[in-house]
Amino acid sequence: MKLVGIAGSIEDKSYNRLLLKFMANHFSDTVDMEVLDIQDVPMFNQSNDQTEGEAVQYLKRKILQADGVIIATPEHNHTITAALKSVIEWLSFKIHPLSGKPVMIVGASYYEQGSSRAQLNLRQILESPGVDAVVMPGNEFLLSNVKDAFDDQNNLKDARTVSFLQSTLGKFATFVKMVNAMDAEAHADDWKKEDLEAKGEVETTIKGVDMHAADWVEQAAAKTNAAEGDDYVKLDRGVLTVNQLNWFLNSMPMELTYADANNQFLYYNHQMDGDKMLASRTPAQAGNPLADCHPKRAVPGVKRAVHMLRTGETDLFKLPVPGIPDKYIMHYYQALHDDKGEYKGINEFVLDLLPIVNYYLKQTGQVLAADPNAKTDAVSGASTKAAVAPKPDEVTGASADTDAKPVEPAVDEVSGASADVDAEPKAVVVPTPEPEVDSVSGASSN
């Protein structure tokens, strides 16, 4: 379970931050908890919107990725600090990342009341409609007289306090699961809204060109006056010509496909003819909506897969395509994000792993042997995590129906075999009894 902790204090030395750090360390067996910084968040100001600034975006990203949030609040003047309130205001103005999030409130203060009034206030604030968090009821953790609570290793001194904190955290873990399960149920059908016809548009969508046209690439290039040939392109860290970029991408030891956030298939690295590819693409397909690239029966699987990547349920899922002689073909679907974490589409990359495995074995003098303890049938690729089974090639650019046979996976759609988890290995690597020395060390001097 992934949690984030926010301490409502921006002082260099904060007992509330100390408390969260203690929890993160001491209970690391139970929860994976990251303590977030709010030091750089500016004072909320309705007339100076800084939602897009890095400090707020950082918190948004971290909160959205977490299963739950723990807030440790000081008490100033019988309420929470302005620093914490300002954070909450940013997170309830143009964006609402706390909406539906399970939250636990704890607090430390110098005085006997141990932040009781601030906690009550915070609960009321978090439950207001703009924030819309789901605060755990019926539990309170108040750390009073906090100046004497920690030893010089920054551990809580009192064993009973630690065990109470542990049981509160245990309850929160259960609460998080409950709330998120309800939420998952409420959103169970969201994937159906995924628009594979690409009827929407994103900032980069090239308007006024028929997506279905066989010469979409030529038309779109003319329309946008696209750079080509020896034109230079400035990249993140480098400058290349378009030709260099093409040579570079076409030399990648894998097939690459880009579909944007509007589910439009924009590009593949055109190394060879479709019938020679591991996952066939043809030049006329570039520009097509994803729906055009798939047979009807595949649409639900594609929608689910795209939705998982769009919502961040997973950033990468891996789909093995077993059953092809002398190959172990993998389809990887990688979500693309801009530097603010916004979803920007999918990179599907397809490659054959077998040559890599064979090379490794040869170099290290080992052979494959069956693993008697393997739990899962590698042929089916079945796994337990996600209830999604998109077929390979069904997510991005894929293929003319004709080549469906060789890539038809044995993944069981009905059982909900997982796409984002590797199939359990059926083989383990064991050393060969007498490896040839040269092949191991590579030390041959001739």
Binding site: S9, I10, E11, P42, M43, F44, N45, Q46, S47, H76, N77, H78, T79, I80, T81, A82, A83, K85, S86, I88, E89, S92, Y110, Y111, R117, N121, Q124, I125, E127, S128, G130, V131
Partner: protein, 202 residues
Amino acid sequence: MHKFIAMVGTNSDESTNRKLLQFMQTHYADQAEMELMEIKDLPVFNKPESLQIPEQAQAMAAKIEEADGVIISTPEYDHSAPAALMNALEWLSFHIKPFADKPVMIMGASYGALGTSRAQAHLRQILDSPELKARIMPSSEFMLGHSLQAFDDAGQLTDNQKVAQLDSLFGEFQMFVEITKKLKNSHAATYQDVRGMDWTKL
């Protein structure tokens, strides 16, 4: 004539709460002197170990000390007072006590129908805490809902009923200021207690 500080409870450039206070400033010009006080540009309160308070906060404190009373008009953000206002009050309670025994009237304006009822309750609770210990006028509330539609182009409150209600509350506040003065004199000892209050020494 009483001298009041009218504290704008937001750092926003456009504010219906500021408009409300500006309306009162002219509307009651013959009854009291009202000076608008802005809270923007204060740094986020971070309990500095140096105990150093920003100059702006010091200047604000001095003005509040001098005034006969403070009128605060608060927006409502997330069912509570805005961070910017909470922030000002943190600075104004950090080893200085300008609000101790100071008569305060709370009001507020919001875009919605409820007119800051929850933010006002929150603000009352804050001002009542030991380091602030303001004398908040009891049993009085002025809530201006649908505040974006409440003023005409000349900045006048258009709803006559609201104006009448405000008139009577303002008169009440003037009396409250006088009563509090008398109380303060007879309770000089409590007053000293509050002055000595310090969270770091508890």
